[in-house]
Amino acid sequence: MTDVTLDKSPVDEAPVPTTGPLRQPRLPNWAPYGIGALSVALGCGIGLVAGLESRIQWGLIAAALYVVVTFALTTTVEGSRQARDRLATSLVWVSFLLAVVPLFSLIWETVARGSKVLDGTFVSHSMNGVITLQPGGGAYHALVGTLEQIGLASLIAAPIGLLTAIYLVEYGTGKLSKAITFFVDVMTGIPSIVAGLFVLAFWIIYLDMGYSGFAGAMSLAILMMPIVVRSTEEMLKLVPNELREASLALGVPKWRTILKVVLPTAIGGITTGVMLAVARIAGETAPILLLVFGSASINTNPFDGAQSSLPYYVYEQWKLGNEASYDRAWGGALLLIAFVMALNLLARGIAAWKAPKSGR
């Protein structure tokens, strides 16, 4: 609402200058577009004339031109205050475009180059016996590995995270809960490679276990736990206290109140949080690199022997460094993005679907 008024207010309620006409002279409404078109044209022109190959540079020149021209024009026509306002506006727009360009390019490249290899064979075959210099093979083994690893990680992290959040919200007072809250915050910031190193030190070096999908799952669980705790905590806090009080007043034990009243009310938000956490860990490469070792053939047993995973597959194929492998890497990346995005959208879908009931 305010956004709308904001758009108009400077025009209608512009302060009256002490001298000069009552209304400040203003640039016509089409001015920004005009200047925009002009700078794009000039940017391309300069780029062409100077023989700059990178299109990104053309864009940057155009953007710089736009900012300068707008500032100069507004200063002369509207005065310095308005000019600064325009400058800020164009800088905001430029920063927005600057950010969108690489992000758009990322998605575009992945889809364009990934869709070349992404087909039925790709998702149903492993890399077993494929000569890496030649096209063929697929990411099935990686897909299975990813699903099993994030499944195991969720099995470990979701209950612990959920119960911790319940403890913090429903029982938590005193030093222990303060300590937990603090360390959950700290844990959120652990770099994934450090989580991987920990499991390496503990599981593989100290306990002398082999590389396995489970080792990777443990490090993923460490990364997942704090996210689950955080989001679940937020959701539980949203549950109105009246519900709890009503239930307790009826003589229902506290644990049944939590299980039957509090959790069902917040279940949508909790599911969303867990799914977002899963989406986050599904893309982790570093711990897998240290703990799962990578494998070219299908290994459906996550507890024994090397496995692969989608992010690791992308890294491995990129490292092989030939066109066929690059294609497979892009294919794997597309598959991974699709998987993560699907999880995200699903999670947000659930959130939106449950939102009205949680009273937000």
Binding site: T121, S124, H125, S126, M127, N128, G129, V130, I131, T132, L133, Q134, P135, G136, G137, Y140, H141, L143, V144, L147, G151, P264, T265, I267, G268, T271, F293, S295, S297, I298, T300, A306, K319, L320, G321, N322, E323, A324, S325, I350, W353, K354, K357
Partner: protein, 374 residues
Amino acid sequence: MKLQRTNRLRALAAGALAVSGALVLTACGSDDNSGDGDGGSSKAASNIKCEGKGNLLASGSSAQKNAMDVWVKNYQAACPDTQINYKPTGSGAGIQEFLQGKTAFAGSDSALEAEEVTQSKKVCKGGQGVDLPLVGGPIAVTYNVSGVEDLVLDAETLAKIFDSKITKWDDAAIKKLNPDAKLPSTKIQAFHRSDDSGTTDNFTKYLNTAAPDAWKYEPAKKWAAEGGQSADGSSGIATNVKQNDGAIGYAELSYATGNDIPTVKLDTGADAPVEATTENASKAISEGEIVGKGSDLALELDYKTTAAGAYPMVLVTYEVACDKGNDAATLDATKSFLKYAASEDGQKALADIDYAPMPDEIITKVRQTVDALA
């Protein structure tokens, strides 16, 4: 409340759907890639004699990974009862694991050292570890100089380039070797490996032997010279050379052909400059001699060879196994697999992927040794 119940049911249903979807997915994958691509020669399958079954673990040199890929693919196609798992962990780790008895055989870029042979007597009851040269490979010097084809260099110039003594492409030394080429004044960007590598070891061994005055560094797996740029893995070298005008780097031949980058011809002192091909590499390997004792077949290469058509910048990688006292459980499969690798078909499959087959005199000895493995 009631509303929420149904929602929960629905959520459960969705979850169940996802799980069953995953299960369905698990059921439909396949490890069988023999249908696609025409890599190697599956027709050779008929000549493979399958013995033993089960899981064969091996690890070691990453330089022979592609060769292993092909052998494993062909062997498994013929002998579905055996699974071979070769992990390219690097020669050092491969030998370690072999000495600890974790693997059936190791792949290594260099022959066993005396100390390692002594250690191997523990694993090989009544015998010792032996080196079996099975894969050779030319190390190609790849370059990217616009407008220049058929670049010829010799060991000394190469050494100076990689030691940052020669910094421009139109240097007099390069001009002398390439009188007809239009050499630009572009800066030379010499790429070396940032990781430890047997390729670096063999490359510098060549430079050190063939041009001792220009290359004073001890050959090692770690790059010793200063200057130049680094890249991770042979693939990193190939990618960087491809992307940068004025770049030069060294990598196994397969990375050069895989990325479509030209390779340098070596002026070895022979009548004509020698191209980096598998054939020429085999010829250079045959110039070397076997220095291993008994059944050990460690090779010493002659980097200074001036024989016509011999490309001396090669690396030979070995399989290391016990001559006697191999683990009974894996002996049959190991023997049968190595037999295939040393066979005519096995060696022929190498050339298709830019590795060099072993010359006849050496491979016959390898076959004898493999046959005698116990």
